[in-house]
């Protein structure tokens, strides 16, 4: 039997957004589908609102909202009719009209789901997951395919749900989403939870911790940046014309950067300096896993 995930132990609390962060294929979806009871685990234990989700009662299912990565919406259905049907499965559903209005579904309410854009489908799937007014909400890649405006709308809604005391578990491969939304993050790689913590904790626990800075700048492509690197500082061209310096940058490095620009007769079109991001933590962890040659074999937990 092939083991998909192992050694994952996670907890989601009310009033928090818990994020499972990892690359595609890391095991995030399998993990939350086990937690939802949609996939049967072969070992370990899961408790969802005090029950085992593998044999979830209708009452438990009513208390849990699920938004699947692929939507799970019938292509021939029209959004509002589908939402009204899903609402009929609950004794006290939220107002379909209010959700339709809130998520901007009205503008495509009479279009069949197969004709909707990816972002529109995401909004319908999110509305369907909220109809029962669940206490726990599983959102699998909720911002995938969303345009920037819809993304902000969805983020605002997720924060509002969190403030209303819901326990929200979301998966994402977008580090920015996790950094902006999550109260607690589990980084998943190759079916294992490799680290966890609040975003500030993850940033501060990283080896290069507080002094780690990232400077990105845009200039003409193909510049020789060897002179910008030193012990503890790397500089590389990430794509033609985009450069990234990272490490323990100090004020003297900025002065050195200015001198390098003058020597190269380079005028950057943009320069951006930031503290270490979750992306750096993630890349450092993923890189360490790669180097250790870790093989994953365990049980779904």
């Amino acid at each position: 039997m092939k083991r998909i995930i192992s050694n994952i132990s996670l907890q989601a609390n009310f009033g928090q957004v818990t994020a499972l962060l990892g690359a595609n294929g890391a095991g995030k979806t399998t993990t939350i589908e086990c937690a939802q009871g949609l996939q049967n685990r072969t070992d370990g234990s899961i408790t969802l609102l005090g029950e085992d989700p593998q044999n979830a009662s209708a009452t438990l299912r009513a208390r849990v909202g699920v938004m699947l990565q692929d939507g799970g919406l019938p292509p021939a259905a029209r959004p509002v009719a589908l939402l009204r049907h899903v609402a009929s499965l609950y004794s006290h559903p939220l107002s379909v009209d209010a959700l339709v209005d809130r998520l901007g579904i009205g503008e495509f309410s009479n279009t069949t789901i197969r004709r909707l854009s990816g972002g529109q489908k995401q909004r319908v799937a999110l509305a369907a997951s909220l109809l029962g007014n669940p206490e726990v909400l599983f959102l699998d890649e909720p911002s995938a395919g969303l345009d920037p405006q819809s993304r902000l709308m969805v983020f605002e809604l997720i924060r509002e749900l969190r403030d209303a005391g819901k326990a929200i578990v979301l998966t994402t491969h977008l580090l920015d989403d996790a950094q902006r939304l999550a109260d607690y993050v589990y980084i998943v790689d190759k079916g294992e939870s490799v680290t966890q913590g609040t975003v500030p904790e993850l940033l501060s626990e990283s080896t290069s911790a507080q002094s780690h800075r990232v400077m990105t700048f845009e200039a003409k492509p193909g510049l020789d940046t060897a002179a910008l690197s030193r012990s503890g500082i790397t500089c590389e061209q990430t794509r033609p014309g985009s450069y990234r310096m990272s490490g323990s940058l100090e004020p003297a490095d900025l002065e050195h950067f200015g001198q390098w620009c003058a020597a190269q007769a380079v005028m950057p079109t943009s320069v951006h300096l930031a503290s270490q991001s979750l992306e750096d933590v993630f890349l450092a962890i993923a890189g360490a896993q790669e180097q250790s040659g870790l093989t994953v074999e365990g049980n779904k937990q």
Partner: protein, 256 residues
Amino acid sequence: MSIFFSDAPRAAPASLGRRVLSQGRYEAAAMLSNGEQLVLMIVMPLLGLIALAVTPILDGMGDSRINIATPGILALSALSTAFTGQGIATGFDRRYGVLRFMSSTPLGKGGLIAGKVIAVLVALSIQVLIISVVAGFLGWRPSGVGIVLGLLFLILGAGTFTALGLLIAGTVRPEATLAITNLGWILLAALGGIVLPAQKFSDTMAGIVEWLPSGALGNAMRAALLEGRIDIFATVILCAWAAAGTMAAVKWFKWN
């Protein structure tokens, strides 16, 4: 906007009956609004009925053409709706994650299947009504006992073919379900003893076909509606297929 979430009543499921009926109504509406399904469910059986009534294919079989043709065409309706139509719809629902999503709601897996069975029975009722009316205009006059027995066998047949359709839809890709159930419909309709009594071809073929669910349903329907009796052998065969199909579907059906 927080009124949606903090002030709303606590999450709870609707009653089991309401959930299942709601799903049945939704599935039936989806089935009846699908043009291809309507052709399969209504148009083709009616064309078959009229063809058998106006051509001499059934001559010399001891009764009028329409009396022999109608039980078989009603049985064909159960095959069309429960096996082919429901199988294809379920296969694509599985592909698009609809089964997984709906089973995560208070409906659950059991409610989802119950809803599909209700949709099949609703669609079959409409088929039976239309076919019976047209057959009536063509001279079909069944006995009261025959009608009662015929309806019971249709329900048993619908259950059997629903289980077999779900078994296929839940184990192979939707494209394969499409091919298998359509090909199955054509072969069983033409040669499976459902529309035409297998004796029409040869005794050897009749001996094989009577073991098939199609042949068993066709024979049971003809015994009920032509002679007002229960064909015990056909009933046992049909029940065996229903039990085997249901057990296999429960064991091997994959929701994703």
